[in-house]
């Protein structure tokens, strides 16, 4: 596995064209790996009739709402959890 639970990660701020499963609002944001969900065929390939291999590792990343929205109204502990495939993640160094 490329990442472990608790790793601090950044979701790539990348904007390739086509069918992408990483919503725009989390691109470039940092969070923590909450769990590893398993290996799945890459939907960004399946969408175009390819076989989706190699499979991608899927992780759930927990991001604080205040990281997403600077003027967020609510508790500082509120979070957004979502699923990100490994090729969209980079580990934040020194951890």
């Amino acid at each position: 596995m490329m990442f472990s639970v608790g790793d601090r990660v950044r979701i790539k701020d990348s904007h390739p064209p086509g069918h992408r499963r990483t919503p725009y609002y989390v691109r470039g944001k940092t969070g923590v790996v909450e769990r590893y969900c398993g290996d799945f065929k890459n939907p960004e390939e399946l969408a175009y009739g390819f076989d989706g291999t190699p499979k991608r590792e899927l992780y759930r990343v927990r991001i604080t709402q205040t990281e997403l929205w600077p003027d967020y109204e609510g508790s500082d502990s509120d979070t957004l959890d979502l699923e990100i495939y490994d090729h969209w993640l980079e580990k934040i160094g020194g951890q």
Binding site: R21, Y25, C37, P43, D81, E83
Partner: protein, 215 residues
């Protein structure tokens, strides 16, 4: 032609009811609807699926409803071992009760005195259909999908759910291969209730996390 001209009985009464078959059909087939229809016809023509496969799948989806999810929650409230298995591996645990998850996997998230969970799919309308049936229209609306991740507490308030400010709100964006089900807290005053009694108070909206079950 107006609706009245197309009516089939006298109109000397007030109109507070619909006349079946007399409302003009103003919805034209949309672009994506046509695409989906064309795709379906091609798949059938090429023998990839049969019309009966499509019908059977629709029938299966239509046969699912929130009562299934409620049974899962009530079981978790009355059986600590099942609850443990449900939180560890939702897909496997609901399989024990005879609910197949199909291609997706299920993650069950537990509400506690400190944490409230809420589900959304910002990219489309992913929803644990095999255990809750088809999603309600509001779940698929652009408004809910956009606002649930930006201002979840305001959205919850509109559903009548006001949470203390020190409770953590955890929104789950169901954007890939997982589906989510909220395990609500068992309401006070329901201790000792039977699984059947508990099933009756677990609502669809409580399992999506926009409301709390009431005793």
């Amino acid at each position: 032609m107006t609706t009245d001209e197309r009516g089939t009985h006298d109109h000397d009464h007030d109109h507070d009811h619909d006349h079946p078959g007399t409302t003009p059909d103003v919805n034209e087939t949309g672009y994506y609807e046509l695409m989906a229809e064309a795709m379906k016809e091609l798949l059938i023509e090429k023998g990839v699926v049969s019309a009966d496969d499509v019908r059977r799948n629709l029938e299966f989806l239509d046969s699912r409803d929130p009562a299934e999810g409620a049974r899962i929650i009530a079981r978790a409230w009355t059986d600590a071992d099942f609850k443990k298995r449900l939180l560890e591996d939702g897909t496997k645990a609901v399989g024990e009760l005879g609910f197949p998850m199909g291609d997706a996997e299920l993650i069950v998230v537990e509400n506690t005195s400190d944490v409230h969970n809420m589900i959304v799919c910002t990219l489309c309308s992913c929803y644990p259909r095999t255990v809750l049936g088809l999603p309600p229209d509001w779940y698929k609306s652009k408004s809910y999908r956009a606002r649930a991740v930006v201002e979840p507490r305001s959205v919850l308030k509109e559903f009548g759910t006001e949470l203390p400010s020190d409770k953590t709100v955890r929104v789950h964006d169901s954007n890939a291969d997982m589906r989510y089900l909220v395990l609500p807290e068992q309401p006070d005053g329901t201790e000792g209730w039977s699984e059947e009694q508990l099933t009756a108070i677990v609502t669809r909206d409580a399992m999506v996390g926009v409301t709390l079950p009431q005793a």
